[in-house]
Each structure stands twice: as structure tokens, then as C-alpha cells.
């Protein structure tokens, strides 16, 4: 896979002295969906702003499809579409006119067939002659997406795409991202909703305090840091763990009524559950119910950020 975006030692220090990005290195492959996770103020939006040319960098080097963003800004920027976090539209313009404007702005000749399909895909076609001011919040967000895709970019940045968005739009957005991926478009989204990353991303980057804490394949990350947990509801509450189980990572909860066993999600042979259950049987521990659960990306994320802080 060739990189579509390569960022090396990117640092952004604002005039206020705030270091929003601290020597960030990141490579994004063509056609992948990359989720950038992080709490508010972590530097997600600044990172996107630098790549798109709306925030000037302090030091470092950013390439988009091999083009350096300052020196070859025309080639670099024409390949990038950005949907910012805040809705910002010329409210007096119509949907159709504002989308055509964006396409022209990025140097593309008019292509009304493409724009029609784009508006249909985003359920905006019926609203094409409406003025933006008349649209609902969700519709305005769709217009923002249509504008960002109007020039057929190879990379789409979605900054907090589903913050404050209803279920329908969220589902549409996810479907759209998958369609874009099928067409070979690279999608980079920032979010603090973990489920979004879990649902869509191929790779996940975690940013905190301007530093990229981790970049990993989502599935690998889930494997490496994901935990599974077996909970047994005991027949008789237990005051302490039997000494014969001392070398198992067990814990008693709920006043000794529940016994929990935590192990790595990708451990082989179910992490030794059968052996444990047999051992329990041998030493006469009875249980009335059992359940297993797998930790989510959210648990992993909270663990990571907690550790870094």
C-alpha cells in the first residue's frame, strides 16, 4: 500500500504558547479508513487543519499523495476534502449553488451528473433548490459533506462527523463511508465516540495532549489490549479465594457472591475456561450462572488515556 498521507515530526505551537501537536509521525495508506481518537483538545482538529492548509504548521513535514503541502499546495489540496466539525455555510445560497461553488473552488470543471448523483446519495436532491437557511441541522450537515465531496477528493476528512447527529444520519454516514472506501477514497475521521471507530475503522490512532499515543490495526488493538471476562455467580458466597486457585487471575466481587476471571481476548483455548471450570468442580465450588464478556474499544481507550495522563 502506498501512503496517501505522510506526516513527519509535525509540531504546531499556537501563538498563545499552547503546543497542540508535538512531533507527530503518522502515515495513512491509500484507501483505508482511519479513526483518530482522543479527548477534546487533544489536537485532532489541529492535525486535520494543518493537512488541509487552514492551520500553518510550526515545524515538520506533511505530504499528501507525495505532494508537500506548502510547496505543492495546489496538487495536495485538490486531493483533499474536509468536513469540519462546525457547520459553516453561506446560508443565503441554495444547496445546488453552494455545492457547484465548492467544485469550482477546487479547480474542477462543472459536472452536473456527478453532483446530481452526489446529492441523491446524500438524500439532498429534493432540497437542491432550497436555500441553506431553510434546512434542518441534519440537512445542513449533509450539505457540508456534499461540498467536501464535490470535487471528487481522494482523501476525505470527517471531523467529528456524528457529534449531535440523529440515528438516521449516523447510519447514512456510515454507509457513505463504506461506499467511499469501495471507490478507493481514503477516509480519516476524528471522533470521541469509540463505537464509531469500532464500527468503521481499519486502523485507529489515539491522540492525547498533542502526542500520538498509539497507532494500530483495529482488530490487532482489540486483540492486544482487549480483555475477556468470565463471571460466575456462586451458589455459596466465598470469603476468600481457595489457596489451590492462587495462581489464577481471579477476583471476588459483590461480597463474595461472584467470581470473575479476566484473560486476554485472543488467548488460545478460551483462555483456559474449561480447565478452570474443572478445577472448580474438583474443589467443590458450585455456581448457578455464568457469563462472558469482551471489552470494547472504549475500555481500551479509557485505559490508554488514563495511563498517559
Amino acid at each position: 500500500m502506498s501512503p496517501i498521507i505522510s506526516i513527519a515530526a509535525l509540531t504546531k505551537k499556537y501563538a498563545s504558547g499552547l503546543v497542540a501537536l508535538d512531533a507527530v509521525d503518522l502515515t495513512i495508506d491509500k484507501g483505508e479508513i482511519f479513526a483518530l481518537l482522543g479527548p477534546n483538545g487533544a489536537g485532532k482538529t489541529t492535525l486535520i487543519g494543518v493537512v488541509c492548509g487552514i492551520v500553518s504548521l510550526t515545524s515538520g513535514r506533511v505530504l499528501v499523495a507525495g505532494h508537500e503541502i506548502a510547496r505543492e499546495y495546489r496538487a495536495a489540496r485538490s486531493k483533499v476534502g474536509l468536513v469540519p466539525q462546525e457547520i459553516a455555510l453561506d446560508i443565503f445560497s441554495t444547496v445546488w449553488r453552494t455545492v457547484r461553488f465548492s467544485r469550482g473552488l477546487f479547480g474542477r470543471r462543472p459536472d452536473d451528473d456527478y453532483l446530481e448523483q452526489l446529492l441523491r446519495d446524500l438524500s439532498l436532491w429534493e432540497k437542491r433548490d432550497s436555500r441553506v437557511v431553510e434546512l434542518s441541522g441534519g440537512m445542513k450537515r449533509r450539505v457540508m459533506i456534499a461540498k467536501a465531496l464535490s470535487h471528487e477528493p481522494e482523501v476525505l476528512f470527517l471531523d467529528e462527523p456524528t457529534a449531535g447527529v440523529d440515528v438516521n444520519l449516523r447510519r447514512d454516514m456510515w454507509a457513505l463511508v463504506r461506499r467511499l472506501r469501495d471507490k478507493g477514497v481514503t477516509v480519516i475521521l476524528t471522533t470521541h465516540y469509540i463505537e464509531e471507530a469500532e464500527e468503521m475503522a481499519d486502523r485507529v490512532g489515539v491522540i492525547n495532549g498533542g502526542r500520538l499515543v498509539l497507532v494500530e490495526e483495529k482488530t490487532a488493538l482489540m486483540h492486544k489490549l482487549g480483555k475477556r471476562r468470565l463471571t460466575l455467580r456462586l451458589h455459596e458466597p466465598m470469603a476468600a479465594l481457595p489457596s489451590s486457585l492462587a495462581n489464577w487471575p481471579l477476583a471476588l466481587e459483590d461480597g463474595g457472591k461472584r467470581l470473575t476471571y479476566t484473560f486476554n481476548a485472543d488467548a488460545e483455548g478460551g483462555g483456559g475456561i474449561p480447565i478452570l471450570l474443572r478445577r472448580l468442580g474438583e474443589i467443590g465450588v458450585d455456581f448457578t450462572d455464568l457469563e462472558t464478556s469482551t471489552s470494547t474499544l472504549e475500555d481500551i481507550f479509557v485505559g490508554l488515556i488514563g495511563r498517559a495522563a
Partner: protein
Amino acid sequence: MSDSLPINPEGVWAIYRQEMARTRRTIWQSVAVPVITTALYFVVFGGAIGSRIQQVGGVSYGAFIVPGLIMLSLLTQSISNASIGVYFPKFTGTIFEILSAPLSSAEIVFAYVGAAATKSVMIGLIILATATLFVPVQILHPFWMIAFLLLTSIAFSLFGFIIGIWAKNFEQLAIIPSLIVTPLTFLGGSFYSIDMLPPFWRAVSLINPVVYLVSGFRWSFYGQGDVGVGISLGFTALFIAVCLVLLWWIFRTGWRLKP
């Protein structure tokens, strides 16, 4: 595509057309207001007061004030069109799209200033046409008349563009035009020849840049001005050059545009 092209004509055209569409949306405010205002000036200064004022340099007072009136509108319109043109996207946040587009700063300035200047020239010509209904207007040097019309529109659209970038709120947007430009225009010989002033005030007037614009423009109509036409042209060119240098610096540093 913009990969190979060193310029982005589609992008410039998109901004230009969007700005002109904004003019069409506000057609009354944009065109009718200056026309009505000018007609009022003619009624008051040309008709009521002008009939009691003797001719100025062989030209009737009503005809004498035509170039000054056009200049007055040109200046205020150029500044307000260009400053709102760039301030509004900053205010609504849509400036992000312009800044993230594959456009050079020169292209952005060209598109916004070009649209603002186009609108000013149109208004100038409409006022001129309105004036011919009230007074006999003659234009001795049509080429230079158009040249002054264009250069002044461009110069003050550039100035307005800078104000639009500089302004952080609507008050700042309005303060330079109303506190500096309007007084300078009124004191710049729009309604009188500075020869009519006592020597001291005449000398003071010569540090007012608007005097040179009005004078040159009036020369193109009636073949006479308060200062030489070469000085008028030179001053206009200098003003444009200063604005361009400022804009070059603004875009290079990202001042008030990029964090």
C-alpha cells in the same frame, strides 16, 4: 486539472461569480441606494444650492460635482463590497473552504477584489447615467475617465479587502469607512474646488489623498483639476502598490486568517 495547471481559473471564477450573485441578492441595497442618494445630492446641491453658486472654472456647479459624487460612491462602495466580501466568510466560518482550496493568495485577492471593483464600476456608470438626467455632463478624456474609474475601484477594493481581513467584528468593519474615508472624501474637493479654500486650508487639503483622485477624475471630464493629472495617477498607483504589499504580507504570515 489543477495538478498540471499553475493557476486555478475555475476557482477564481467560482468566487467571482459567488460574489456577483451576492450583489444580485442585494440588488436594492447595492444599486438602488447609491442611485437614489446621488439623485438627492443633485436635487440639493445641484438644484437648490447650486443655482446660487456661480460657475466653477467655466462649468456649472451641478456638472462640476458629478465627478466628485461618482468618486464618493466609488470609494465607499469599493470599501464596503470588498470588506464585507471577505469579512462575511470569516464571520460565518466558510473561510475555511477558501483557505483549504487549491488557490494562491493572489488568485483569492484577484477574485474578491475583482468582483468588488466590478460592482463599483457598475455603480459609477449608473450614477454617471443618472447625472446626465439632471445636468449637462461632458467627458473630454473618456479613456482616462474609464482608467480613473477602474484604478480607483481596484485601489479601494484592495483597501476594503484589507479592512475585511483586519476587522474582528462588525463595528471595526464600519469604523474606517465612516470615521476616515467619508470625512476625507467630503474634505477632498468632491463638492468644491480646493482653490476656493483659504491658502492655509488649501495646503492642508493637499495631504488628503482623496484630493488627488477627485482632481484627476474631474480633469478627465472637464480638462481641469486642482493638481496635475500625472500626480493623480501616480498617487493612485502608489496606493495600489501599498495595498498589494500589505496583502502579500498578510497572506505570507496568515495574519488574522490562519491560526
